[in-house]
């Protein structure tokens, strides 16, 4: 008996294992294997490799999606420019409404948010002059600042890692300003989808448990701006564009306090 190592025959063997052969060739390989123990052993070994791989990695199917993946899936889709936005809006509006209700259910403090039927999409449409990332920054603030158990992905205890990671994901050096002077301490941060680009959100908290978030966006096609203020759903944001990055400080403090923090952030980032 001779061991055939002819590539064509070997390729047939793999195709046989993978069910890629038509019935006639399959029968031919079967006959060959019956006469050739070496080849039959190899076919078995290749089949076992597949089984081993499934044994090793099928557990992944039982894992829940990561927070990042869920966030990306919940974000509005980039739309085809030739298609009117209205066709894609309802699904997102529904998802956003569900999200807001979930958050609202967890925290009565946000009850007033729910009294508005408006969603981020509707808001963006209602206020077209607002830079888009700012609307997303406010949405992210509304969702995450009220989060009790998982307000951030990486906590302040791993600040260096947080900065390295987010800088890497944004492809841009990101800094975390200190806001001690305003009585706010870093809670941590997370990566967010920003119209399919990555954005960073840093969260701060004061002794009274009030939270502000700083959103750092790459989605800027504009030149630098001075501070601008917008208010949506009872949350205000102060935003400005500096270099390649857009910033939005979102919170529910008095206008003066928000401005004071914004100046601290600005000074810390532009030194």
């Amino acid at each position: 008996m001779n061991t055939k190592t002819d590539p064509e025959l070997e390729a047939m063997l793999h195709a046989f294992v993978d069910g890629e052969l038509d019935p006639q060739d399959e029968q031919a390989v079967r006959e060959h294997l019956a006469l050739n123990a070496d080849a039959a052993q190899r076919a078995d070994a290749y089949r076992r490799q597949g089984e081993d791989l499934h044994d090793l990695y099928d557990d992944v199917f039982t894992e829940p999606l990561s927070a990042d993946m869920r966030a990306a899936l919940n974000a509005p889709l980039a739309t085809n420019p030739t298609r009117p936005r209205i066709f894609t809006a309802p699904m997102w509006r529904m998802a956003a409404a569900i999200l807001l209700f979930t958050v609202g259910g967890l925290s009565g403090w946000w009850g007033h948010v729910l009294t508005s039927a408006e969603t981020p999409v509707a808001l963006a449409n209602a206020a077209p002059h607002v830079v888009p990332y700012v609307t997303r920054a406010i949405g992210a603030h509304v969702v995450y600042a009220s989060e009790v158990r998982h307000p951030v992905e990486v906590g302040a205890d791993q600040e260096q890692h947080l900065v390295t990671w987010l800088s890497k994901r944004l492809g841009h050096d990101v800094h975390v300003p200190k806001l001690d002077e305003a009585g706010f301490e870093l809670v941590g941060g997370r990566l967010l989808p920003d119209d399919a680009k990555p954005a960073a959100q840093f969260m701060y908290e004061n002794h009274a448990g009030q939270r502000v978030t700083l959103y750092v966006s790459l989605d800027t096609k504009r030149t630098e701006t001075a501070f601008r203020v917008v208010e949506q759903q009872g949350t205000s944001a102060i935003y400005w564009i500096e270099g390649d990055l857009g910033y939005a400080l979102a919170g529910n403090l008095e206008r003066e306090d928000m401005l004071k923090i914004a100046r601290l952030v600005y000074d810390a980032l532009t030194v």
Binding site: P7, E10, H14, R42, Y57, S66, A72
Partner: protein, 179 residues
């Protein structure tokens, strides 16, 4: 139906493939999938309904892994505070002579990247040769030769590692090479 639902239902497969490709390094694997997911969502309006969504997603993931691999191959692997694979990106051609491989996961690490990808797409993900050729943008013949070489290497690595006392003669004659 919203394409995001369809994409979400394919995510476990993408994660499984990325996990196997990254030698079980969960954070690196999920990082690859996250990048692919963001790209896919960004380009979702370009997807032709009725065509093969799975192959489309694997193509995007494949392109992400290739560019990441290229980046990482250019410099030493960066070890963050999370666990990094021991040698997922270092494959020396004669490494398997000295190695005692305990299991499939370790054997996989010693395949060249293209062979590892091909074996995983076929044996783990059950993609057809045609789908793999689309995903990797190579002819079917290349898929088949990578698959054959990868599987044969794996088989030899496993046998040498697991059955060290087996006489060499029974291990040798089946390795064939195309080129």
């Amino acid at each position: 139906m919203d394409i995001r639902h369809s994409i979400a239902s394919e995510l476990p497969r993408l994660r499984r493939y990325a996990r196997a490709l990254s030698a079980g390094n969960t954070s690196h694997a999920d990082d690859l999938v996250q990048q692919a997911l963001e790209r896919a969502l960004n380009k979702a309006h370009l997807f032709q309904p009725g065509t093969n969504l799975r192959a489309w997603l694997f193509t995007i993931l494949h392109n992400v892994t290739v560019s990441e691999h290229r980046k990482r191959a250019a410099r030493p692997y960066e070890v963050s505070d999370e666990s990094a694979p021991e040698s997922a990106y270092a494959t020396s051609p004669d490494a398997h002579d000295k190695l005692e491989l305990r299991d499939m996961a370790r054997a996989l690490e010693h395949l060249p990247q293209e062979q590892r990808q091909t074996v995983l797409l076929v044996s783990l993900e059950g993609l057809s040769y045609k789908e793999v050729s689309e995903v990797m943008a190579v002819p079917i013949g290349t898929v088949m030769s990578r698959l054959a070489r990868g599987r044969d290497q794996l088989r030899i690595l496993m046998e040498r590692g697991v059955e060290k006392n087996t006489p060499r003669s029974t291990l040798r004659p089946t390795l064939w090479r195309v080129k």
